[in-house]
Subunit: 351 residues, 2 copies
């Protein structure tokens, strides 16, 4: 298998399973940070030990047995475009790309379970699933974590819990996060108010590509800030409650739009549709914003012929690396904007 | 005949005759300001004399004979919407609407020849024709002016020429103006430069609705500033030369766009098309700007199925009063934006 094989489909996290609030909660993610005893942590690790860590982890993953058939990718052997494809699929982080030395990622067939090796910590386990599926994501990752713990020598302190490179991850080493589509809260100018209402719970609100990025396409990533002093299940339950609350706010805002501002709502949806179907030049942020309008129109039954699967595919394949993979050519940003418009127009041809 | 009969068609000035630069010069207009001896000029005229002036002018117009069958409209008998329809058709001015007392307008069947009575001067003759047709407009209005001069006692000074309310019109009393569509000069950011190049000739550049209005939809009105010291024909020839120069600049800018920036040009055209075909709420200025994109696309053969006649009709009927006339209802601005979107969408249905 190589990276270009991936671009025939989307990962499981874009497959739109039928969960609660699946029109608002796009995906659910759980990440665990783990490190190995007997090796320096990442900031101080030698190039040789990076290789040793990578080999230990790979060997452990291979012995976790059935159901977890992992594909391994060594970052040093991947082209720039292949690395970007993995990032656009949320399988690796920018930090993993920017590190040096032996590092890589392993993931299963539907990309729902992945392991970054030698990123900020020796091991970053990730379970990423479509819809509002935190519990299922946790069960999957917890099982893998238990299997690995039986093979690897995790850095663990009986009092503090799991030890990590960055103190904010010490304890459970868990990050629980959910990607939400909140266009009606944005359109009714009540998004800040909604976030203020959940502020006390020490959650982080971030953009589409995580820390320090903007909320493109009205997609927000909500995650826990603390990892210490509460159990994994408690942290998941805390976040779940908040996500449900936000989903209710968003649902109410959508109802409000339909009742008070139907023409404005329909106008936005139809303009988004029209522009994506006709533009000859499409900027990346603009495409995200227009696709957000389409997603809203689909959810509100204004555009009934569009399915979430179609939309997620367009969404993923409008990203720069996927776009270049389709036409098998490296493009300058200006050329990409034209290629993006061509690709999207082709997808909307019969819609 | 009443005003609502007008709204079955456009005036001759929107009929797109085949003239030089008819893809750039939308219409040509000549206006003559005249006043009568034996009456105070407008700022000081009594209400009774307004009636006398109106009756003298109407009687004179009636006796100008065949080919000039005028319809008369007394402003005092017209509703607000009917007055606005006349203004949107460029048959009357805002000033005529805002005046008090007896005042009105007379115009012929195809609306190419009109006479405002008791506007800024006792008489304002106008010849307004589609395309680049200044000479034809002048011949028509000159003939009518000669006929009226044989009947009415014009205020005329052998040294100064025609006397008018505002000193800027004294002399010939003529204003020669042309409406130009200059989107490529705007898109290539060379419109200011083009206007600076013609600045010395003492011409005025104005927006779509004349003095003090904005250049909506990239349509500019170019006219002479001086009326004294040169003959009518000289003023017309001066303006003609400038219009031809501007038309050449615009043509070159269009060629430059096609050569250097074809995707941007096509993108603008297709987005305009898409939005007009799909919007549910359409603001007036935005509609003008989008129709400008369509006009450019039509001229550049990007949208070959659109004709200038169709476009001009949509252009005229998207104006507030025409819009309300179609649905025979008075609407608030917000409701008009919805009605405008509905009307335009209907027109673009099969395009």
């Amino acid at each position: 298998m190589n990276i270009s094989d991936l671009t025939g489909s989307c990962g499981q996290w874009l497959s739109c399973p039928n969960t609660d609030y699946s029109n608002i909660v796009i995906s659910s993610r759980i990440r665990l940070a783990r490190n190995l005893n007997n090796f320096n942590f990442m900031p101080k690790i030698s190039d040789e030990d990076k290789i040793n860590v990578a080999e230990e982890v790979a060997s452990a993953l291979n012995s976790t047995g059935k159901g977890n058939e992992f594909q391994f990718f060594d970052l040093e052997n991947l082209s720039k475009r292949e690395r970007s494809i993995l990032m656009e699929r949320h399988l690796i982080s920018r930090e993993l790309i920017e590190n040096t030395g032996r590092r890589g990622v392993a993931f299963n067939d539907d990309e729902s379970l992945s392991v970054m090796i030698n990123e900020e910590d020796h091991i970053r386990l990730q379970s990423l699933r479509g819809g509002f599926s935190l519990q299922q994501a946790y069960e999957t990752i917890d099982k893998l974590d238990d299997q690995l713990a039986g093979i690897l020598d995790y850095a663990y302190d009986p009092e503090l819990g799991y030890l990590t490179s960055c103190p904010t991850n010490v304890g459970t080493g868990i990050r629980v996060s959910v990607m939400m589509h909140l266009p009606a809260l944005v359109m009714t100018r009540s998004i800040e108010k909604a976030f203020r209402a959940i502020h006390d719970l020490r959650l982080a609100v971030r953009g589409f590509y995580g820390e320090g990025t903007e909320a493109l396409g009205e997609i927000y990533q909500i995650s826990n800030q603390i990892t210490l002093g509460r159990s994994e299940q408690e942290l998941i339950d805390d976040l779940k409650a908040v996500i449900e609350e936000l989903a209710v706010y968003e649902t109410r805002a959508r109802e409000k739009l339909i009742t008070n501002d139907r023409f404005r709502l329909e106008d936005r949806v139809w303009r988004s549709y029209a522009t994506l179907k006709n533009a000859r030049v499409l900027f990346p942020d603009e495409a995200m914003q227009l696709l957000s309008g389409i997603r809203l129109g689909m959810d509100m039954k204004i555009l009934p012929s569009i399915t979430p699967e179609m939309l997620n595919k367009i969404f993923l394949f409008s990203q720069p690396a996927h776009l270049q993979q389709i036409i098998k050519e490296d493009l300058k940003p200006k050329e990409r904007d034209i290629a993006r418009a061509n690709y999207v127009r082709e997808q909307f041809k019969d819609i």
